[in-house]
Symmetry: D3
Subunit: 72 residues, 6 copies
């Protein structure tokens, strides 16, 4: 019955990658905890880079190289 | 002061249905816990069927009948 | 397949009340959206009154009447 | 390493305001808890007024003045 | 910079299992999305079986076999 | 009507610090967005260091210096 919520920046994630996230996270619940995949939920949230901050600035700014040398 | 967050797949939910979710969830807090509706929040998140997985595959795939016989 | 997450302050909620929250929220998903209860999850989080703020102060302080006349 | 998630109604929030939310929330973690900004995440979710309920009605309805005199 | 939140019932999960959840979920982000593990967060929430409902009843009741034949 | 959820590791956060988080996050919503504090919620979640992973290992392990030189 686990719920796995994956929050990532919205940066060109493909349908194939999403499918791999769903299957991989589900398999992790099976392998580690013996959970039933039929009641294992995986939810993916893509969050705009203007809405995700790290180091006090948005990822959108980081990607423009504007204000930090953080390597993330 | 409760917060009720409702996560559902994004599949043609109508405005009328959303209003019923808000009023129904709020009333549940009043009836069961005696909460004040004025400080009861209800948040609805519609999540794309490509971003919601169950049984190791996305709901989008399930709806196409591609890979499982799960009846959900 | 809905997920309903209910966040409330931790103030003497009984097992009977929790059961009513679970059954009531599930029934709401059935009645309004036609969802299958077998894949409807309800999660209840009780949050300490020192960890929940409203109006700029914690509910713990509000309950002591210390710093506000908010009626919630 | 804190995560700060800010949920607000989707009502014309500007990029400048979002940047201030990110920098302000990050600074709060530094000032109060001594956290490292490099591992402090801030996530902003803008939620449609039809998906946010208070007092048993959606904010969309409240903004139209339809069903309540709540002043929020 | 992903955040992976894993919600499971509180039923004797060991420290070794938790470590495997953390490393497995992190590796999934690296393998599928090329993310940097240094800024990949994994959060595990164990939720009491009285606070998790499925099929309209709590998991605590399900485990007692009281009210359903759901096999989860 | 904003909701601010602050997730931090459970490492000796004091009541005074929590009060400062609540007041500071509320004030941020007022200053940046002009929100009404009376309907601004702040929720603090303290998460055990065994339940929070970064860099593929738990913070508990990091604090023991066992497996990484990450400075967080």
């Amino acid at each position: 019955m686990p719920i796995v919520e994956i929050k990532i920046t919205d940066e060109n994630v493909t349908a194939v990658q999403k499918n791999r996230l769903v299957s991989g996270a589900t398999q992790l619940m099976v392998d580690v905890l013996g959970k039933d995949p039929a009641t294992t939920f995986v939810l993916i949230s893509e969050i705009s880079t203007v809405d995700w901050g790290i180091g006090g600035v948005s990822v959108a700014e980081l990607r423009r190289g504007a204000s930090t040398s953080l390597d993330i």
